[in-house]
Symmetry: C2
């Protein structure tokens, strides 16, 4: 069997397994957007049957034979082929090393966990949720052990979302970040401008949903989202799913908070542009899938923050917003809209946080997760540890667990190690931003003309088209010439918010 024919067969099998995964993603999208109230059980049965089929495709013995052939040192693989084989090995090991019984147990626990969390949050009853977390923690450790990482289970959880990441590396980055951020937040919130920004944001009321929909469609199309290969709908929580030629974003509308739908849509558009930019011919192999959650988040954050909170962006879109909503914007002074877009106010709730304090919410979660895995912190002591960390980092202490340790869904189905991606994504975004700016200093003028094509073209070439050839950190190094560091993020926050508030 020649290398090329083995590689072609491997590619076909990988793509088949990936395609079944995209069907599961579509079922998930449909569940959030369309599913009738009474359809949950049938949907769960569909997802279970599909997961079984997907697992069978991903652990197909022929894949193992082909990998063994292609991994022989004598084989001369191209760099691209090597990247595909490496990623396929990772997926194959995950599919074959986890016993079917364990996979079923984890899936059932994930579903139970979600409902237990939802009930506990509604009733502000952490003790009822604690046993679920204990079980999830234990399952995560068993999973790490099955995959040969029993010595460092939290590293395994991080690596799951961002190949190559370790707790030690994240800790170093986050320590440096929080030393800078905590005082910056105190400075900003002490500024008299903070109250003006909040007041400006509060003036934006009574925006009809249809008008909001039209405006965000214009904005996201101008950014480059291709609606012939994607769509946007409404769901309870905004998200983006799908890939290639079928990318589906969601948002939600509130007449009295028009910036929410707009910025969540711009955020999801960042994710969507990444997925639409992956090489179509390679969807499913390492050449045609994203480089991990941190890189994904860097794309959504770059568009949401560096781009859509810029002066140039609003020079372009403020006149249009005023044209579409003359009555609603009449009382908003020149420059007030821009202040509203960049309002900063510490909050207890992560998903409501502004872009400056957001990162501290993530640092908090990372520190708590790390201690849970090391055994330094017991599940029953979580609420107290959360309160203390919230006071230290965000400067606010939750009055109850609903606004504290119970606020996020992630841990309820065992998604430990996911939170850091959000903050690493912010760091990557800032680093990419300064590299782009060095290459094209007139970006702000581009945006003022509504022209995002240079920036998108650059991201397409250097990030999107690369797929998962490299780990996120390696890819960032290649694009920016620097190691990942919190400095560009701090510089960016100081420049944008220092200029406005200090």
């Amino acid at each position: 069997m020649t290398t090329d024919s083995a590689f072609a067969e491997l590619t076909r099998l990988i793509k088949r397994a990936h395609t079944l995964g995209t069907v599961g993603e579509l079922l998930g999208w449909d569940e959030q957007v369309n599913l009738p109230l009474g359809g949950a059980d049938q949907r769960a049965a569909q997802q279970a049957a599909l997961a079984e089929a997907q697992h069978a495709a991903a652990s197909e013995p022929r894949l193992g034979e082909l990998l063994a052939k292609l991994e022989k040192p004598a084989r001369e693989l191209t760099d691209d082929q090597r990247a595909v084989v490496k990623n396929a090995r990772r997926d194959y090991d995950r599919a074959t090393k986890l016993p079917a019984e364990f996979v079923r147990e984890k899936a059932a626990q994930g579903s139970r966990g979600y409902h237990a969390w939802a009930r506990a949050k509604a009733a502000d009853d952490f003790p009822s949720y604690a046993p679920v977390l204990e079980t999830n923690l234990e399952l995560a450790k068993r999973e790490a052990a099955y995959l040969g990482r029993g010595d460092a289970p939290y590293d395994h959880m991080l690596d799951k979302h961002d190949p190559g990441l370790t707790a030690a590396a994240v800790e170093k980055l986050f320590d440096a970040l929080k030393r800078e951020l905590v005082p910056l937040v105190r400075e900003i919130t002490a500024s008299p401008v903070a109250a003006r920004a909040r007041a400006a944001a509060a003036k934006l009321r009574g925006f009809p949903v249809e008008g909001q929909r039209a405006f965000l469609r214009e904005v996201t199309e101008r950014m480059g989202f291709d609606y012939a290969r994607g769509r946007i709908d409404v769901s309870l929580h905004p998200f983006c799913s799908g890939t290639g030629s079928d990318v589906r974003m969601t948002t939600r509308f509130n007449a009295d908070a028009p910036l929410d739908a707009l910025f969540s849509s711009i955020h999801e558009t960042g994710h969507g542009l990444y997925e639409q930019g992956l090489p179509a011919a390679h969807l499913g192999t390492a050449l045609g899938i994203h480089a991990g959650m941190a890189m994904h988040e860097s794309q959504s954050r770059l568009w949401e923050n560096q781009v859509a909170r810029s002066r140039g962006f609003w020079r372009c879109f403020e006149p249009r917003l005023r044209e579409l909503f003359p009555a609603q914007t009449a009382a908003v002074m020149a420059d007030e809209l821009y202040l509203a877009v960049n309002a900063v106010e510490p909050t207890l709730i992560r998903v409501e946080a502004d872009e400056v304090t957001y990162n501290l919410h993530i640092v908090l979660r990372f520190e708590v997760e790390k201690k849970l895995f090391s055994g330094e912190l017991a599940v029953r002591d979580l609420p107290a540890a959360w309160r203390a960390a919230s006071r230290e980092l965000v400067g606010l202490e939750p009055a109850n667990d609903r606004e504290g340790v119970l606020q996020d869904v992630h841990w309820s189905d065992g998604a430990f190690g996911y939170f850091p991606s959000y903050c690493l994504g912010n760091m990557l975004a800032a680093q990419l931003w300064y590299r782009a700016l060095a290459l094209r200093p007139e970006l702000d003028a581009d945006f003022a003309r509504g022209d995002f094509s240079w920036l998108l073209g650059w991201l397409r070439e250097h990030i999107h088209a690369q797929g998962r050839r490299f780990d996120a950190l390696e890819l960032a190094r290649r694009v920016t010439g620097e190691e990942l560091s919190p400095r560009p993020l701090v510089r960016y926050l100081r420049e944008r918010y220092g200029g406005l508030y200090l």
Copy 2:
């Protein structure tokens, strides 16, 4: 292994395969309702990967072992178990006797065929489509041969959609039907009332879509469709898909033809009520799937025609329609709306036909299909044969093939033998109707009060809850005490339309 444990395992495997089928159905729904223009290729890849997984589940060797055990004469099965085993054998044979290569060839040909048909129809170019039909015919015959029906391939095609049906049985029914229907249509169209009915229908213009949507939602909810277990959306062609707790109907709106959206929705609601009425615990086995296409069509037609074209129905809903659309209905006289609902006018196009002439379109297709399979008619002679049959049966001759043999999509992916179900469904509907009326003569008064609960309850108990325990003809016999016959349909059409027109 006990009978019960073998039966339980069989049930689990059948349900898994069926569940994967429902995922494919959902992908199909999504393709018609949501898919971005550019997403067709990815969707085709998803359907192909899913079909492969579904086929693997349906031909799982363990299923064959369990069937062999359960089919042993010594096994004492309940009647229900016997029905499940019989249907499972049918599905298993279909999954295992067709070579994978043949299944792939047929799927690829179906996709090519669809596009060739669409192009040929747009260009009115039958000769370009003829080779596709030749291939489809040949594939259908090969399929019949693989399944041991090489001697009677058209019987096989009929049996595929309606287990137990044969061409000889259909021919006898259709011959009797057309002898009655052809003269009835001539009488009706010669009546002066025909022009009044058409003029009344033409008055219904300018109905805003939102109002139409609200009205059809009220109507279909009143009929008993449970929107907590289903939904209705918009697509190019109306259809109904899904089952149990997730039934999805579609319709389409035209401001100047409000009866179209209403009646197509009522038709799909008939299908939907059937699917919502199948026993939830048995979805996927013979105890929880529908009894074939003719029975399905009987449910949609019964609600669309016997119910929704009745005096009682409009006594209930005409006032509401006038209330919702006062300006649009102002010029419509008392009784004109009822005439509009029951307008009869021969047309060349099946999907635009009224309920009287509709059946003749089906007879035409059946006669042509039968001759194609027997070799009496060559594909190249189809257009001429169609024109002659159209003249004889419908009284109109198409000026081109677009309005003749090219009008329907069915044959383009090899769905021969499907058309008769439509007309058999009409016969069954009338037969069920008179049985229901014999049991409850006050049905029209029920409808006038907007009360459809007795009728739905009766259908639930005697049809829906039966699943596929019996073939459609056997089920009809059990419910009505009579053999399937065209007489009740002719009686119904004479009563309704004779009363109005003659």
